[in-house]
Point group: C2
């Protein structure tokens, strides 16, 4: 079997086993992901991510991860981190890339390198409240993948297509998601 | 003027001046934000963010920022970073928080502390391809703000409402955005 030699570092068997186990216990498939954000000063904030809920119980990352966000100096800010909307590109890029690796493993395709370059176009007249016809977010996001793999160009394109089809972040960006906001004055 | 004493670290005057300048040069308001992602192994990738385009020319963050993404150990991965969909929560949290600080400054409200806790609910039957009725992304995101400020609870609520109204990431999450994907086999 040619697939035996392929190793992209994804344990596809474990994922297939998980799918089987979850079919009998769909409640365990309900996850809750969390982030906590503290305002530092100006537009600078620090978010931390550690715990989440899934497989019917509380879970945790191995360590707490911390992320600074800020605005750049051209917005009269201190640039102590990337902007919030750049985090969306990081999420989209990494989600599609992890998907490419997983699908390639499942299809027995050895990857050599995968690089994704993302560019999101945004007219800041929206967030500055200058023109109500201009949206606040991205008008358009362009993703360019450069992939080196033991496969035909068509099979490589199909990897990306399948990754898009199963990507959580691609779904969030391309479709509307409900957000509820609660405010406590403390 | 009571506002003189208020300092949330946001240079609102610079933003108002920018708005004025951009009114005469709307082309300068067109920004392009970028991220570049390299696959490491398995579901682990590393994204970098440095350059962007705006105010009619190439711009750059003070330093290059780098972000690991991975899946947790319960997905048979190595947990070398947060998951891609957690980056969406980081982006949303930091965007709304920066907005609260900016709006508070503009309204002359002194902030003492701002904390946002986010929780995104997701049924992983979607990404595992178990049930086509289940979406891949979040079903729902809940944001809880705890804000201590020199203002009435109503004025504090109004800060958050205005931040939502002008937030780039809130827009991206709650509304659909077009994503174009190009694949080069190298």
């Amino acid at each position: 079997m040619a697939e035996t030699a392929v190793n992209n570092g994804v344990n596809v068997q474990a994922l297939l086993d998980a799918r089987k186990a979850l079919a009998d216990a769909p409640q365990a498939a309900k996850f809750k992901w969390r982030a906590s954000c503290k305002w530092e000063n100006g537009t600078h904030s620090k978010s931390t991510v550690k715990g989440f809920h899934g497989l019917g119980e509380e879970q945790s990352h191995k360590t707490e991860f911390s992320f600074d966000a800020d605005h750049p100096e051209i917005f009269a800010a201190e640039d102590q981190g990337i902007t919030p909307i750049e985090y969306i590109l990081v999420g989209l890029a990494s989600c599609l890339t992890a998907g490419v690796a997983s699908v390639a493993q499942n299809r027995g395709i050895q990857l050599k390198s995968v690089e994704a370059n993302l560019e999101g176009a945004m007219d800041i007249q929206g967030i500055l409240g200058m023109d109500s016809e201009v949206r606040n977010g991205y008008d358009d996001i362009k993703v360019t993948f450069n992939i080196d793999a033991d496969a035909s160009p068509e099979d490589i394109e199909a990897l990306v297509a399948q990754s898009q089809k199963r990507s959580a972040v691609y779904d969030i960006v391309t479709n509307p998601t409900n957000v509820t906001v609660e405010v406590n004055a403390v």
